[in-house]
C-alpha cells in the first residue's frame, strides 16, 4: 500500500514542543503529566496538548500557522494556560532538552497501549528517552517537494543544533556537549537520516521494502533528524532541543520556514551522497562545540566555522525572511550567533552562579514562565 502524501499549503508551519513537568520541592521531574493533562482537557486551547513516553513529559502541538507573529502569540497563550494549571497542582513546567539531574530509572512509562509497547520493545531506552525536543513542521505541496526539502535542509541541521541547544547537563553532570539530548535519540535502531532517494515514488519503494521486512509499520518508526510526514503533508525537522522559551521556539520555526522558502525558490541539483558522507561528522561537531563547530562542506571541499556559516546563511536568506514576515525573528537569531549565545550557555552561567542543579532547574522554569521578554529581569534577579 503506497503512502499517500496529503497536500498542504506550501510554507504553512507549526511546532511540537516536549516539556518537563517538575515538582516544586527540589525541581526534579515529577509524574504529574496525567493530572495536568486531565485539567488541560477542560480548557479550550489552540492545537493540542498530549502525553509523551514518560509521565514526566507533556507535548504541545501548535495549530497550523501562516506567520511567525501568530505562532508566537499562540505559543504564549498555550504556555500561560499550561503554567497556570500546573501551578494549581503545585507543578512547574520548563523547557530545555534534558533534565539536568533526573535519574532515568526513576521515570514511569505513561500507561497508554502504545507507550507500554514501546517500553517493552526498547527496555531501558524508553525511559532514557525522557528528553525534550522541538519538532518543526513545514507544509509542502507534494511528496516530491518533501523529499527534496528533506535533503535540502540537511546541511543546515548543525545550525538548528547550535541555536536550540539547551541540554548541557545530563544525570547530574556537565556533559561538555552543547546538547546531550541527541545521544538519547541516536540509540534507537532507526535513527539517523533518510536514505538518498530523490522522489516520492522512490521513497515509497524504500518504505515498502522496510515494511515488507517487518522493520517498520508506519513513518513513526523512523526516528530521523528530518523526515517527510505524509499524513500531515509536511516535512518534520526533529533535531532541536526544546528551547527555554517559546519565543526561541517560534524563531527557530521561522528560520526553518525561511530556509524552506529559499530552497524552493532556488532549486539545488547537486547529488546528495557527498552530503551524507560528512553529515554525521558535522552533526557531532555542532552537538559538541555549538557555534564553534567546524563544518565540512563536501561540495566546496573546505571547512567553515559554524558561526560564520550561520551568519552567512542568515544574510543570504534575508530577502525571503522579509517576504515571509520573519525579519524580526532572524535578527534575534543573528544577534545570538554573533554573540555566541544560546540556552546551553545560559544554563551553564546559571550553574556557575547557583552551584546547584535544583536551582538551575528552578530558574529554567521561571524563564519558561516569564518568557524572553523578562530575560533581563530574570538574569538580574538570579545574579
Amino acid at each position: 500500500v503506497p503512502l499517500d502524501f496529503t497536500v498542504s499549503r506550501s510554507l504553512t508551519f507549526g511546532v511540537e514542543l516536549e516539556l518537563m513537568v517538575l515538582n516544586t520541592r527540589d525541581y526534579n521531574l515529577s509524574r504529574g503529566a496525567p493530572d495536568l493533562l486531565a485539567r488541560l482537557a477542560k480548557k479550550k486551547l489552540p492545537g493540542e496538548v498530549k502525553p509523551e513516553i514518560t509521565e514526566s513529559m507533556i507535548e504541545i502541538n501548535s495549530a497550523v500557522n501562516e506567520s511567525y507573529d501568530t505562532l508566537t502569540a499562540e505559543l504564549r497563550l498555550v504556555r500561560d494556560a499550561i503554567v497556570n494549571e500546573a501551578e494549581r497542582l503545585n507543578l512547574a513546567i520548563a523547557g530545555g532538552g534534558a533534565h539536568p539531574f533526573h535519574q532515568w530509572q526513576e521515570r514511569r512509562i505513561y500507561p497508554t497501549e502504545r507507550f507500554l509497547h514501546v517500553s517493552s520493545l526498547y527496555g531501558y531506552l524508553a525511559k532514557q528517552f525522557t528528553v525534550f525536543g522541538q519538532h518543526i513542521h513545514i507544509g509542502v505541496e507534494s511528496g516530491d517537494d518533501a523529499v527534496y526539502l528533506t535533503h535540502g535542509l540537511a546541511p543546515y541541521i548543525p545550525h538548528f543544533i547550535a541555536l536550540s541547544a539547551s541540554s548541557p547537563f545530563s544525570q547530574g553532570v556537565d556533559t561538555s556537549f552543547e546538547t546531550s539530548r541527541l545521544h538519547a535519540v541516536s540509540a534507537f535502531p532507526l535513527s539517523g537520516q533518510m536514505p538518498p532517494v530523490h522522489t516520492w515514488a522512490e521513497f515509497n519503494r524504500y518504505f515498502d521494502e522496510m515494511a515488507g521486512y517487518g522493520i517498520v509499520a508506519s513513518m513513526k518508526d523512523f526516528y530521523w533528524d528530518i523526515r517527510p510526514k505524509p499524513e500531515y503533508g509536511t516535512i518534520e525537522i526533529r533535531i532541536c532541543d526544546t528551547p527555554l522559551t517559546v519565543e526561541r521556539a517560534a524563531q527557530l520555526a521561522a528560520y526553518a520556514q525561511t530556509l524552506a522558502a529559499h530552497l524552493l525558490a532556488n532549486r539545488r541539483t547537486e547529488p546528495v551522497e557527498p552530503l551524507y558522507r560528512v553529515y554525521g561528522y558535522n552533526r557531532f561537531q555542532a552537538c559538541r562545540f555549538g557555534f564553534e563547530a567546524e563544518l565540512v562542506d563536501p561540495y566546496e571541499r573546505k571547512s567553515t566555522r559554524l558561526r560564520e556559516h550561520l551568519l552567512d546563511t542568515l544574510d543570504r536568506v534575508a530577502v525571503d525572511a522579509q517576504r515571509l514576515g520573519n525579519k524580526a525573528a532572524l535578527e534575534v537569531l543573528w544577534r545570538s550567533a554573533q554573540a555566541q549565545e544560546n540556552d546551553t550557555r545560559w544554563l551553564r552561567e546559571r550553574y556557575a552562579e547557583a552551584k546547584s542543579m535544583p536551582d538551575v532547574v528552578r530558574l529554567q522554569a521561571l524563564r519558561w514562565k516569564e518568557g524572553a521578554a523578562q530575560e533581563a529581569a530574570v538574569a538580574g534577579a538570579s545574579s
Binding site: 520541592r25 504529574g32 528517552f129
Partner: protein, 417 residues
C-alpha cells in the same frame, strides 16, 4: 586471682546494644512482613508488641522507657520533613488544600468529641482526646510513600493534610491546656502563660533553627552531602533544645521544617533527602511504639476505643471526600487521599504522654482508651495507606520491559512525534 577485669553480673545493657537489637529485630520483622505481602511497618510494630511484654518479664522495661531518646530523634526528623513538605505557596494558589485539611481535622475532632461526650466523659478531657485524634501519623505515611515509591497529587496532598492536622492538633491541645489548668485549679497566670509559652516558644525555636541553618548554608559548599549533615545536625539540636526548654518537640520541629521551606526566598538550603538516616530511626521508632502499646489496653479501652477509632475515621473520610471534588480530584484520588490520612501512631502517642505528664487525671481516664485506639490504627493504618495510594494509582507500577518480552518483538509506532 582478681577477676575484676570481667564484667560483673547482672550485665548492664548499653544503649548501642539496645539500639542495635531493636534495629535488627525490627528489620527482620519488616522483611518477614514483606514476604507475607503486608506493609513492613506492621512487621516492625508486631516485633515491638512482642518485645514489650518480653522486656517486662526480664525486668528491662525501664530501658525501653529510656530508649525514648530514639523516638524523639526519629519523630523530630519525621516532623521536620513533614513541615518541609508543607507548601504555603501552593495552599495560597489552591485553597481547597487548606479547606480539606481543616474539614477533615475538625470533623474528626467533633465526631470524636461527640462520641466521648455520649459516653459521659469530662468535656475538657474529651476535647484533649479528640484533639489527639485529629492527628495522622506522619511516620506511617512517609515510610509507606517511600517504600511504595508513591508520587503524585494524592501523595503530595496527603503530606500537606498530615502537616496541617498535626499543626492544628498541637495548637488546639495547647489552647485546651488552659482549660485543663483552670479545672485543675492552677493559678490563672499559669493557665494563660503556660500555653502561650509552649506556642510562642516552639515557634521561636523553629524559626531560629531555620534562620541558623540558612546562615550556615550560605557559608558552606552547596552539595547534598554537606547539607545533609547540616540539616540532620540541626534537627537533632532542635529536638534537644525543645526538650531542654520544656517545649513540645512536635510543634518546634514542624515549625522548623515549615520555616526552612517557606521562608527561604534565596533558596540557600538544599532540599536533601533524609530517607537514608530516616529509615534506621523509623524502624526503631515503630518497634518502640509497638513496645509501648500494652496489648491489654484494648481490653480496658474496649468499646470506647473502638468507638473513638470509628468516629475519627468517619470524620476524616467525610471531610476529605466533601472537599476533594472542589479541588478537581477524581473520585479514586479522593478515596485514596481519605485512606492515606487514617493512620494513628507515634505522634498521637507522644501527645498522649505529653498531656498525661501534665495532668495525671487525664491519664487515669483516657490512657487505656487512646492506647487501645492507637493499637488498632497502628495495625490497620498501614494497610489503609497502602491500599489508598495504590487505588489512587500513585505507587510504582511493574516495569513493562520486564514482562512480555516475546510480545514486544513486533515493531510498531514508537513515540517521538
Amino acid at each position: 586471682m582478681n577477676f575484676g577485669f570481667l564484667p560483673s553480673l547482672p550485665f548492664t545493657l548499653s544503649y548501642p546494644l539496645l539500639f542495635g537489637v531493636l534495629l535488627v529485630a525490627g528489620m527482620l520483622g519488616g522483611e518477614l512482613a514483606r514476604i507475607v505481602r503486608i506493609p513492613r511497618i506492621v512487621g516492625y510494630v508486631v516485633v515491638g508488641l512482642g518485645l514489650g511484654p518480653l522486656a517486662g518479664a526480664v525486668g528491662l522495661d525501664s530501658l525501653l522507657v529510656e530508649a525514648r531518646i530514639f523516638v524523639d530523634l526519629a519523630l523530630g526528623l519525621v516532623l521536620f520533613d513533614l513541615g518541609r513538605r508543607m507548601d504555603l505557596q501552593w495552599m495560597k494558589r489552591d485553597w481547597t488544600i487548606a479547606a480539606s485539611g481543616f474539614a477533615e481535622s475538625l470533623l474528626a475532632f467533633f465526631a470524636v468529641l461527640a462520641t466521648l461526650l455520649a459516653f459521659r466523659f469530662d468535656p475538657v478531657e474529651a476535647g484533649l482526646a479528640a484533639a489527639i485524634s485529629m492527628t495522622t501519623s506522619p511516620a506511617v505515611l512517609m515510610l509507606l510513600v517511600h517504600d511504595l515509591q508513591s508520587e503524585g497529587q494524592v501523595t503530595e496532598r496527603a503530606m500537606n493534610l498530615v502537616a496541617l492536622n498535626g499543626l492544628s492538633a498541637s495548637i488546639l491541645v495547647t489552647i485546651l491546656l488552659s482549660s485543663a489548668h483552670l479545672e485543675a485549679k492552677s493559678q490563672v497566670e499559669v493557665a494563660l502563660l503556660h500555653p502561650l509559652y509552649l506556642f510562642l516558644g516552639s515557634l521561636s525555636v523553629g524559626a531560629a533553627m531555620a534562620w541558623l541553618s540558612r546562615t550556615i548554608a550560605r557559608k558552606i559548599e552547596k552539595t547534598r552531602e554537606v547539607h545533609f549533615a547540616l540539616i540532620a545536625g540541626m534537627v537533632v539540636c532542635a529536638v534537644g533544645l525543645s526538650t531542654m526548654l520544656k517545649l513540645p518537640v512536635i510543634l518546634s520541629l514542624l515549625a522548623f521544617g515549615l520555616f526552612a521551606r517557606n521562608d527561604d526566598r534565596s533558596y540557600d538550603l538544599l532540599n536533601v533527602n533524609l530517607a537514608p538516616v530516616g529509615r534506621l530511626l523509623y524502624i526503631v521508632l515503630f518497634v518502640i511504639t509497638g513496645a509501648s502499646l500494652p496489648l491489654d489496653s484494648l481490653a480496658t479501652g474496649g468499646v470506647v476505643s473502638l468507638a473513638l477509632v470509628a468516629a475519627r475515621a468517619a470524620g476524616k473520610l467525610t471531610g476529605v471526600l466533601a472537599v476533594a471534588p472542589l479541588g478537581g480530584l477524581r473520585m479514586r484520588q479522593a478515596v485514596g487521599l481519605g485512606a492515606a490520612v487514617l493512620p494513628m501512631s507515634s505522634l498521637a502517642l507522644l501527645m498522649l504522654h505529653d498531656i498525661a505528664r501534665l495532668f495525671p487525671k487525664f491519664a487515669t481516664d483516657f490512657m487505656a482508651i487512646i492506647l487501645g485506639g492507637i493499637l488498632v490504627m497502628e495495625l490497620v493504618g498501614p494497610f489503609a495507606v497502602q491500599w489508598g495510594l495504590r487505588f489512587a494509582g500513585e505507587t510504582l507500577p511493574a516495569d513493562p520491559a520486564a514482562t512480555g518480552r516475546m510480545a514486544a518483538r513486533m515493531p510498531s509506532a514508537p513515540s517521538a512525534d
